[in-house]
Symmetry: C2
């Protein structure tokens, strides 16, 4: 027996070595990309779509104090800013790449020396529990983060499973070693955000509780279970609540020290240890949307041991598996890093919102059991319907199908009977415009990915789109556009509704619902109602049918759009570029118009209004950092100069994505920016999800093999690829010349090979 075991172990090590060598794609993941300036990504540890995303906070500044907005908070959407000199602690939930934020639950910070319960300031880290750190002592990998906390002489390491964070802190010898547990801290915090906190010290290694907040999500509760590898010697709490309210007979207890039953609005806790030099104190920290009981069950199911390296390794193996769905050959390491980091960032959100036993909290705040699917939350649909969900349909179809099921469960639970706009921990935060769930649902069903009750799904789409009291839909139905005098984003919403309606029509057609098809295909033409032929742009229209007089085509604020001026948004007719171009004067007129978008100079006064992006995130007046333009470079495909799509796409890939911390020119937006990168690198892009077409651009990879869930592979090859050879001379699909500018979903999912012949000259 022992001999056999020895042999097995030997083989396993050998096999592991081999696997590691042949598919160590994790080496190309740099979570640090996007952590400087506007990317709003985080460098911490997570497994794909993990519920726990354990990452350092470099500051926890309030969103507002006493009603006044603090504009610096915007930097901290993901909690970490690369330029900051200190780390405040490590919290368990983060959004990736958002432009507004929340979360940052359960901040933990290991310290030594005098106990300090306030975080202190950046300029004087010694004034609180925070610590200076340097990037030289920092490592950020997929599912692994390490940093030296200089002020405390502690090495911090983080890894995770889906629902459990694993901290490993290597202490110096100290009689005053502490774990600070800050239950006040949070991302985008403000005075009133912490609604309630409840903590139980179950024994000298186990703590449970919950945190209830009123933030971007309105009624949100996260439950936790925290287990220490070593008993604490003592612990305590300080309550920072401003208004002291009646505490009744709780006054008979000293709740500040070694008291196991705590609750309040603003609490910070500490746990004390004595440590030997280089002693590791480990913490497993599990979350649940439902209960502390479930959190504990999650922890016990996911990490029934204390082997940090094993959790790290298993998580990185999971990442390798995820990343190896596309095997890429590229010109250099920098491109591989861009590519696999994009794949990494496109596998962080949405997050699993369900316990190992299948339970989750619904919008009605009741506990539900997911029936045959994994429930997800954090769906930033205005961003992600464009390329991210179509990307999942190819590389992660089961997961995308579960996301569709999650959206329909959300609909079933919705008091408003609406599909999610921005699904956010048993809430909708209603962020941004449109009802783009319908695009994701239609796309998944039309592409044959989601296998549930499609008629029910259509019903949910239709009910949502007919919700007259929601953001101008009533007027939109009655007049064919949203009047500018009634709504501040009347034009962009009209355009987005028109596209969404087209998605519903496509779904209805597939399901032979002619009545619904006709209703919505008609609505999908409403974009024409806000086109002002006299200026050649989309323009706000008043209730009386006249266009709004004061109008600036470069300005964003107050012009009827959200995140984009009319130069960008006028091109937002993804479902009918042909007619759009025709209305704008035909192909000949359209090409120079589109050219000037990329070449004109946007004056600083107007740039200041474009949200979420750096100056580098803009090319001319083309704003890559904001989503409404993401299909724009592909529009040359509807003209006689498709080579300009090829040229622009390669330029954007080159200009907008870099290896450094400031490598993203705008918010990654929950994987949408990254999904754009992946598609475009492969040479095609889903201009209008819910159609089965991917429009060709110019691949930047040398080759790529997409391993599909159905067992087939789809290969992209770019012959004579180089930085100069950005133009596509010829395309073969499975060896035959392709006489069109798109490929279909069936062609991809059926497996096969797409060969691009690259050239330095425009065709």
């Amino acid at each position: 027996m022992r001999f056999i075991a020895f042999i097995s172990a030997f083989c396993w090590v050998a096999a592991f070595g081999q696997v590691k060598n042949s598919s160590n794609l994790v080496q190309y993941v740099k979570p640090i990309i996007g952590t400087e300036k506007m990317g709003h990504t985080f460098p911490g540890a997570t497994v794909p779509f993990g519920a726990v995303q354990l990452s350092p906070e470099t500051d926890t500044i309030p969103y507002e104090m006493n009603g006044k907005y603090n504009k610096d908070v915007y930097k901290y959407c993901a909690g970490y800013q690369y330029d900051d000199p200190t780390i405040v602690g490590f919290s368990h939930t983060h959004f990736s790449g958002t432009g507004h934020s929340d979360l940052g639950d359960f901040l933990i910070m290991p310290t030594t020396g005098k106990l300090q319960l306030n975080p202190g300031t950046e300029n004087n880290p010694g004034s609180g529990y925070r610590s200076a750190f340097s990037h030289a002592n920092e490592v950020a990998e997929a599912n692994y983060y390490k940093v030296k906390l200089d002020d405390h002489n502690i090495l911090a390491e983080l890894t995770t499973t889906t629902r459990t964070g694993f901290h490993q802190y290597t202490f110096p010898k100290s009689d005053e070693a502490h774990i600070i547990f800050d239950l006040m801290a949070g991302i985008y915090n403000y005075d009133d955000k912490n609604v309630w906190t409840f903590v139980r010290v179950e024994n000298d290694t186990l703590v449970t509780g919950f945190r209830q907040t009123y933030g971007w999500a309105r009624t949100r509760t996260v439950y936790f279970a925290m287990s220490f590898s070593k008993p604490f010697t003592q612990y305590g709490m300080k309550d920072y609540s401003k208004g002291q309210v009646y505490r009744g007979f709780w006054r008979k207890f000293d709740q500040t020290k070694n008291f196991p039953d705590l609750a309040g609005r603003q609490m910070r806790m500490y746990f004390d240890f004595k440590t030997e030099d280089q002693e590791k104190v480990k913490i497993k920290f599990a979350l649940s949307p439902v209960s502390t009981r479930n959190a504990l069950e999650n922890m016990r199911a996911e990490i029934p041991h204390w082997d940090f390296d094993r959790v790290k390794r298993e998580g990185q193996e999971e990442w390798n598996k995820e990343l190896s769905k596309i095997t890429v050959k590229a010109g250099g390491r920098e491109e591989l890093i861009n590519f696999y980091t994009a794949m990494y960032h496109a596998a962080i959100m949405p997050t699993v919102y369900m316990d190992v036993n299948g339970e989750y909290k619904g919008l009605d705040q009741n506990v539900h059991k997911a029936d045959g699917f994994t429930n997800y939350t954090s769906l930033s649909l205005w961003d992600t319907f464009r390329a991210f969900h179509p990307y999942l349909n190819i590389v992660n179809p089961s997961r995308n199908a579960d996301i569709v099921s999650s959206m329909l469960a959300h609909y079933d639970q919705s008091a408003l009977k609406m599909l999610p706009i921005w699904s956010h921990y048993a809430n909708d935060n209603w962020c941004m415009s449109g009802y783009h769930s319908v695009s994701v649902i239609a796309d998944a069903i039309i592409k044959g990915n989601w296998k549930g009750d499609a008629q029910r799904a259509l019903e949910a789409c239709v009910t949502t789109a007919r919700h007259r009291s929601y953001e101008g839909i009533g007027d939109y139905i009655d007049k064919g556009y949203i009047p500018a005098d009634k709504n501040g984003t009347s034009v962009s919403s009209t355009l987005e509704y028109a596209y969404d309606d087209w998605c519903i029509a496509q779904l209805a057609k597939k399901l032979n619902r002619q009545d619904i098809y006709e209703e919505f295909i008609k609505r999908s033409g409403n974009w024409k109602n806000v086109y002002d032929a006299s200026i050649g742009f989309m323009r706000p229209k008043m209730s009386d049918g006249t266009f709004k007089k004061e109008f600036d085509v470069l300005k964003t604020d107050g012009q009827g759009f959200i995140e984009g001026n009319t130069w960008n948004f006028s091109l937002y007719v993804p479902h009918d570029p042909e007619q759009m171009i025709s209305l704008m004067g035909g192909k000949k007129k359209f090409v120079p118009h589109l050219d000037s978008l990329f070449t004109m100079h946007l004056p600083d006064e107007f740039f200041a209004e474009t949200e979420d992006i750096t100056r580098e995130g803009i090319i001319g007046n083309y704003v890559h950092g904001n989503e409404p333009s993401h299909h724009v470079a592909y529009l040359y495909n509807w003209t006689d100069q498709p080579w300009k799509t090829q040229e622009r796409v390669r330029m954007i890939l080159k200009k907008q994505y870099h290896n450094g911390p400031a490598g993203l020119g705008g918010n990654d937006d929950c994987g949408q920016m990254s999904a754009w990168y992946i598609f475009s690198s492969l040479g095609f892009y889903p201009v209008a999800p819910a159609s089965d077409r991917y429009w060709l651009g110019s691949p930047s990879v040398k080759s790529a093999v997409v391993s599909l869930e159905n067992g087939k592979t789809f290969t992209v090859e770019a012959m004579d690829q180089s930085d100069k050879n950005v133009y596509v001379k010829k395309v073969l699909l499975n060896g035959k010349a392709l006489d069109r500018r798109f490929i279909t979903n069936e062609e991809i999912m059926g497996g096969g090979k797409l060969t691009f012949f690259m050239s330095p000259k425009a065709k």
Copy 2:
């Protein structure tokens, strides 16, 4: 079939009529007793031990505003004060007879005319939604309350099932009929008490949600489902939160009108109707400790129809069943009213805290399923261990056994590993002193009532009693008393612990745990350590073993006691009166000492310090309105003058209990005052629960038949009973002369007859 059904119905009606005539005991219940001054009872509708106790609020004044205590709030412990001229509304939860308070959840008020969302003031009811009313138009019965709301010309009627309140409002013809739903209102409210409120308007007749508060219970959430008999035409909400915090994209909605998804800290809602003259609008309002889903399930299970009269009738039948456990003959209707209203008040608390599906919320805030018992909450044990639980052991043993199971579940869930002090909706509010759960548990097990794992129960008692950090227990264990320099109620707690320890010892003896018996029988003698022989009273003792110098035997505040001065508390050795009397100088000295307690005059300055009672609640210096003296009148049984017990008991029965609204001289204290009345009326009293003895007094009934759950009956007869014949000449038990001053539990539960021969002369 139809014929048979007709016959059955006929028989049923006949049978019902007969039952009604022979046992319409509900006629003797006057819920209005105790609603004036200090009784703190409520007049509204409830079934026995109902989770919903639906009752009018005559004001909703805040406990504190901006940190300042509002002493008038004390009047409103149960929400209703008889002298008030207006009714603010009807809420669904109330404590009965407490001296501190909470609850008052979900206030509903029907109005007509202009919509008003604030309650207005007592002096100017027209300034808000409240209404003037008069007692002439008010009916308060068991499970039925009716009142005319003068300002709105609405007849309001209330009835309930265990978990569902049923409102019936008869409106005048009106185009402006409203149901106000005040989610800010509550009993003992203050600025910060409402932690969170969540409401969903599911459709035009169904509303669900929850209310989370931070009151006497710290982390408390109550879920509801509200169903209207008639669709509302429109509805709306006003948010009264002071600090306006970030609401994100919720701003895109008008949440004030017909918006179905609401949440916030301070909300009031309204629902509008058009009514015909005399049209009834009915509301079913169910509660759950767990979820809105469970609340709805409770409602549908308990009231699957809209027949108000049926719910009222079934609830009153339930009361008749409850009351008919003791059939009494008395001198007159007034005594019957006192007796059956006492039985009524002794069947209101604790309340069922469990859904129809068996789920309830535990102290860990997790959802638990009660395994083989009904879970109860609102256990005011410092009050009720004395006579109320012993009373339940006789007339309601199954229920008391379930209460014991509830206490042990509480213990299992407790982070502090303690049995409940004051179990309060998945919380302990820690009110008052001692650990009197152990008395209730020991009493139930020793009397053979609770059939669970007794060793586990003993373990819970012992663990609780050894909790060194709880209220001086550590010092109490080490020194044999609680030092006065460390604790403000050092003497009363020492005395109460000593009695509780004796209970544990008795339980240990029964379970053959000699080790535990010895530990706790020793502890039970600790009362001697605070007895100062030099003054003949219990007295605060310092850490150094000397008695506290400054000491006033009449004063209550700051003397080492809670709710009682040393005159009263020095007699609190219920488990060993014999030795107590001996220490106090022997029987001869003790009798005049005890006499003077009843005959002395307590100066006003000291009366002001006795909480919870009216001047009438005091007899001399004997404070019947506070529990520590409840056994005192029975102490003459340990002297040569037991006739003084008989005389005093009859005097207290006569003086302290009346038929009017002001009929209770002090807080009813969750049935304890009432249980004292019942026992004493029957002629015996459990001086020391956990012993099997009931000490004889003087019955005030002519006869009483106690129908036991085991099918037997125990009869009390008082021969020659009259108001003057208060002395007991002779007692027969089952026809044989009783040569002792007590009867045993076995003698009662075995069935039989206790015959008192009454006389106008002291024996």
